[in-house]
Symmetry: C2
Subunit: 474 residues, 2 copies
């Protein structure tokens, strides 16, 4: 078991020859400054930072390959870094090593509007891409909240609010450029919409969290900006009523673009944070995309379903500025909830279950939070069966942290018992490694180890993430 302490014990000092060799390639784009190492040794998780020994800023795929070859020749770990917005400790330098920062790889390389595809360097963020393509009439829908880099989003199989309609990075990455653990450059996939041409290397790297190779370029699908967009917000007397409205919406096949759930704690937080006056009850936030008539049709079905579940105040947000205010508030929920307990740190977790089990899973998790007096909020991309729990803990109180981790472990066990998954979109990082075995079983985990050992025989690609002790049986 490679616990942080044991991994730290595996940490080798940075060989001065490696640093010199990196400096020869990257000149002033390699740094060992404490401030820069601290910045790169943390993400949005509640883990204490673990610093790399140096950070290099790559500008091309070839430079990444150079850095990888050098690190590999010294058996030194390397960690790709995009925007640092991961949530489960993905980019912490458990065994030190070199962080390869890709944020200067920020060029949109090609937009093929006529094919609805774009190819970008890994450091391009989703907002940057949408800004650069806005005159084409197309947009890139995947929206995990943070303005993450496309490389990082691919590496963590990100999704977010729009996934119920447009899918996740799994469905929307068409092709990749990847630097392998031995520094070769490979191209996976094409711009064809479908292919049966051999093993799906693209899907192997999507969601691999930097542990199999470093993604340096990403080709994604784009979508026509919808002819019409409308949004609606409504409150419910209780969580069950809200979630059951969603379940029926999905079961009826209404192609909602977004449907977000916020429990009353989350609503209370964003009311304060964003100066809104939403009723402090469980709330659903819908968005509909389509033709003028299609959007009306969808919205009407949803309004009827909500009515059957005693919805309170079904309100339309037809003006773009109203919609934008609501979605900004939703995206701020994380920061808003942090303020529920000043000085606290958030333990954030997510899971995803088949839609029919969603109400049960949320209600039981909510009850568990309450029973344990957790200061918490639950929000979710509920159309996918995916929800998030944020628990505000005192990081210096081990009992408090343990209580939150207990809630998390029980939520995961509950989701898995319902044929669900231990993480719908946050990824494994360091936080969900134990649960991976529970979800997939020892034989499937062994198959993942076989893959990891084959692609990264020295265990130097973001080691200590996704799988425990891959080296054990080499």
């Amino acid at each position: 078991m490679n616990h942080p302490a044991q991994l730290a014990a595996l940490k080798k000092p940075l060989p001065p020859e490696l640093l010199a060799a990196l400096q020869a390639v990257f000149a002033d784009r390699v740094t060992t400054s404490l401030a820069m190492r601290e910045h790169h040794g943390r993400d949005e998780s509640s883990y204490d930072p673990m610093l790399p020994d140096a950070v290099v800023f790559a500008q091309t795929t070839e430079e990444v390959a150079e850095a990888v070859k050098l690190c590999s020749s010294f058996d030194i770990p390397m960690i790709p870094y995009g925007t640092g917005t991961s949530l489960e400790g993905h980019i912490l330098a458990l065994r030190g090593g070199i962080t390869i920062d890709l944020s200067q790889m920020s060029k949109v390389l090609a937009v093929h509007a006529e094919d609805q595809t774009a190819t970008v360097q890994a450091g391009v963020t989703r907002k940057q891409l949408n800004q650069e393509i806005k005159d084409t009439g197309l947009f890139f829908p995947i929206d995990p909240g943070a303005d993450a880099s496309l490389g990082g989003m691919a590496a963590t199989r990100a999704s977010g609010t729009n996934a119920v309609r447009y899918g996740t990075m799994r469905e929307n990455v068409m092709a990749l450029t990847v630097v392998t653990a031995d520094g070769r450059i490979i191209k996976t996939g094409t711009r064809a919409r479908k292919s049966s041409a051999g093993y799906d290397l693209t899907r192997i790297f999507v969601g691999s969290e930097g542990t199999l190779g470093i993604i340096t370029e990403v080709t994604v699908r784009l979508y026509p900006q919808p002819e019409a967009v409308s949004a609606a917000v409504c409150s419910f007397p209780n969580t069950a009523a809200a979630v059951n409205t969603v379940i029926q919406t999905i079961q009826m096949g209404v192609p909602v673009a977004r449907v977000e759930f916020l429990d009353e704690n989350a609503v209370r937080s964003i009311n304060r944070h964003d100066k809104l006056n939403l009723p402090e009850k469980p709330l659903l936030l819908f968005e509909f995309h389509g033709s003028e008539h299609g959007v009306q049709e969808q919205a009407q079905v949803v309004q009827e379903l909500a009515g059957e579940h005693d919805a309170i105040g079904f309100e339309w947000a037809t003006r773009p500025e109203d919609r934008s205010r609501l979605w900004t508030a939703r995206h701020n929920a994380y920061f808003a909830m942090l303020q529920m307990r000043p000085g606290a740190r958030a333990i954030s977790t997510d899971c995803c279950v088949p839609i029919s089990r969603l109400a049960e899973c949320i209600l039981d998790t909510q009850a568990d939070c309450e029973k344990n007096d957790m200061i918490h909020g639950i929000v979710g991309h509920v159309g996918d069966g995916n929800f998030h729990v944020l628990m505000m803990v005192d990081p210096h109180d081990p009992a408090d942290v343990a209580k939150a981790e207990g809630v998390n472990a029980r939520m995961v066990a509950r989701a898995i018992s319902m044929d669900g998954t231990c993480t719908g979109e946050h990824g494994v990082g360091m936080h969900k490694m134990d649960f991976l075995v529970q979800e997939h079983g020892v034989e499937a985990i062994e198959q993942m180890r076989i893959l990891k050992r084959a692609f990264d025989p020295k265990n130097i690609m973001n080691p200590g993430k996704i799988l425990h002790s891959v080296q054990e049986t080499i």
Copy 2:
């Protein structure tokens, strides 16, 4: 290079101890009869049959695991078999060995209508599944033409007419049970709509054509039967007009459920075969799924676009029996075209390109066929940028076969030069192995080899398919 002749030279005689051990497990469900071996040594490709040494009929995942362990202990190749409808030589026993027939694994194990998922044994066919779920109001959309088994469809990453709307097996397989090369049983994926929980083992096995493990159970997504369905057929003065209508339909984001192209040769063939009297011109066949109003809206846009491209006789097929007659004719196109040249065998191939390049790719391929006096037809799931060429050749005339393979090679090179793929849905089998290197490049192919060697170190899982000479560097 493992050419058939060289592979046949690698063929080991069937060890009598293996046969005896299989008989002890499978009793009369193992056979060495010539008739049964001949039946299992061919598919729908133009290759001469290559027979396995024996065929076993498995009924459970555990039995498959038993067979795999036994074959593995003798280093004897094994080939999974569903319905034998593959098109590129996927199931031919190049090095002999044991064919594991999964057609008796034909149970629908679970239908979760409330979650729109079904779990089936690998031998269940798509028509059987649709028959068994028809009272749920749901359907399974993937339709490659043949009534293939779900295991085979997963293994070849199949798609077909509906993929433009509903995706391919890549998007629609949620979870698998797989027997690995050493006979372990693994479960990949869950019934959650999305997951970031570790490496995407599901997508590794989808499209792996039996070369990495044997798929024994498949969980797929189902979809609500559309509230309204309508179909339309229209002819065009030339191929460019038909294909440009499709390109614009897709670029405008019209969510067509199916859009099929048939060139005038294909139309002529199905007219004869199915006693239709369609104008013998390039033809498009559309199907629309949605609400009553949504379907009308889609169809109206398409009718206008077709009109702008001088469509001839845009006709509605509103009655289910008319729709069914047209789609049956489309599905019969393969057999209908075979009759264009009695006694001939069809060399069938497909490719897929970004939608904007589709007209150019089809027109150049058509011109190449005509220049070479090929008796041919072109049909396509053109909404995806995917099309098929059937060339009727005299299998005993090497010059004729070489001419057809020349057309095929140039079509593939053309597709790849357009950022497309050498096969959209047929798969690699034996026929597309050379093109895989051309498409992915040597470094990506090396990465596929690393995967193959890790998952099948003895090279006994359907050897000689997808990759040449995986053993070379072991």
